[in-house]
C-alpha cells in the first residue's frame, strides 16, 4: 500500500478537494465513517490555515502501515510567514485572524499524533497521523 495524494492548496475550493480526497482514502483503507469524518475535518482545518495565513501551500495525504496498524498520514505545509508563538497557537481560543481559535488545538484532539514545525519567514509544516484501531 503506497497511495500518496498531493493536493495543492490555493483557495477555499481546494480545502474541500483535500478533505474529500482524505476521506476517500481513509474509507478505502478501512477506516470507519466516523474516523474518516474526523480525518476529513482535521484536513479541512489544516488546509484552511494554509489559505488564511499563507495563501498557498500543499496537503499531502498517504496511507501508512507499520507492523501492527494501518494508518493515515497528513502533511500540511506552506511557505508562509510562520507561526510566531506555537505554544499560543495551540491554545484553545487563540487566533490572530478573528476565527474561533479551535483550529490547531482542535485538530490535535482529532488525531493520534500531531507535530508542528514552524519558523518565522520560512513557513509551517503540520504532520498528523491517525491509526486504525
Amino acid at each position: 500500500m503506497n497511495e500518496k495524494i498531493r493536493v495543492p492548496i490555493h483557495s477555499d475550493k481546494d480545502i474541500v478537494a483535500a478533505r474529500q480526497k482524505g476521506r476517500t482514502l481513509a474509507l478505502s483503507i478501512g477506516f470507519s465513517e466516523t474516523d474518516s469524518t474526523l480525518i476529513a475535518t482535521a484536513i479541512s482545518e489544516l488546509a484552511r490555515n494554509i489559505v488564511t495565513y499563507a495563501k498557498k501551500g500543499e496537503v499531502e495525504i498517504r496511507a501508512e502501515r507499520n507492523q501492527v496498524h494501518i494508518g493515515i498520514l497528513v502533511i500540511a505545509k506552506d511557505k508562509g510567514a510562520g507561526i510566531a508563538n506555537i505554544k499560543q497557537a495551540l491554545q484553545d481560543g487563540f487566533s490572530t485572524s478573528g476565527s474561533l481559535g479551535l483550529g490547531l488545538p482542535g485538530v490535535k484532539r482529532l488525531v493520534d499524533e500531531f507535530d508542528i514545525v514552524s519558523s518565522k519567514g520560512k513557513g509551517t509544516q503540520v504532520t498528523i497521523r491517525k491509526w486504525k484501531i
Partner: protein, 120 residues
C-alpha cells in the same frame, strides 16, 4: 454551489445539497439574512444533512446566520447534523451554543410550528 431556499408558509427552508466551500457558506449567510427580510419569515430551517463535515468555519458561519436572523426577530433551526459529523464537531471543540438544532426537517418544522403557535 447555490443552496435552494423554499418558502413554506411563514418559514424558509434552506437545503444544503453538497459540501460547501467557505465562499458558498458566506454567500448562504448573506442570502438567508436577505431572504428572511424580503419574505417576512418567522423561522428558518437549515438542513445540513448533506454536509460532509462541519469544521470551525462552517459552524461559525452557521452560528452567525442564526444570530443575524434572530436580530431580525426570526428563529433558526439547524437540522440533520449527521452522527459522525456531530462526533467530529465535539472533538474539535464546537458546541453551536445558542443555536437550536433538531434531528431532521420534520422535527425542525414541528419545533417552529409549536413555538409560533404558542406565541400567537
Amino acid at each position: 454551489m447555490e443552496v435552494p431556499v423554499l418558502k413554506q408558509g411563514p418559514f424558509l427552508i434552506a437545503t444544503i445539497q453538497a459540501a460547501l466551500t467557505d465562499d458558498d457558506l458566506v454567500h448562504l449567510r448573506r442570502a438567508m439574512v436577505e431572504k428572511v427580510v424580503v419574505s417576512r419569515s418567522l423561522g428558518v430551517i437549515i438542513d445540513v444533512t448533506a454536509l460532509d463535515i462541519m469544521d470551525s468555519f462552517a459552524s461559525r458561519t452557521l452560528r452567525e446566520i442564526a444570530q443575524m436572523i434572530r436580530l431580525r426577530g426570526a428563529e433558526t433551526v439547524i437540522v440533520g447534523i449527521q452522527p459522525e459529523v456531530a462526533f467530529a464537531m465535539v472533538q474539535l471543540g464546537i458546541t453551536l451554543e445558542g443555536v437550536v438544532t433538531a434531528l431532521d426537517l420534520e422535527e425542525g418544522l414541528e419545533y417552529l410550528n409549536h413555538r409560533f403557535k404558542s406565541n400567537a
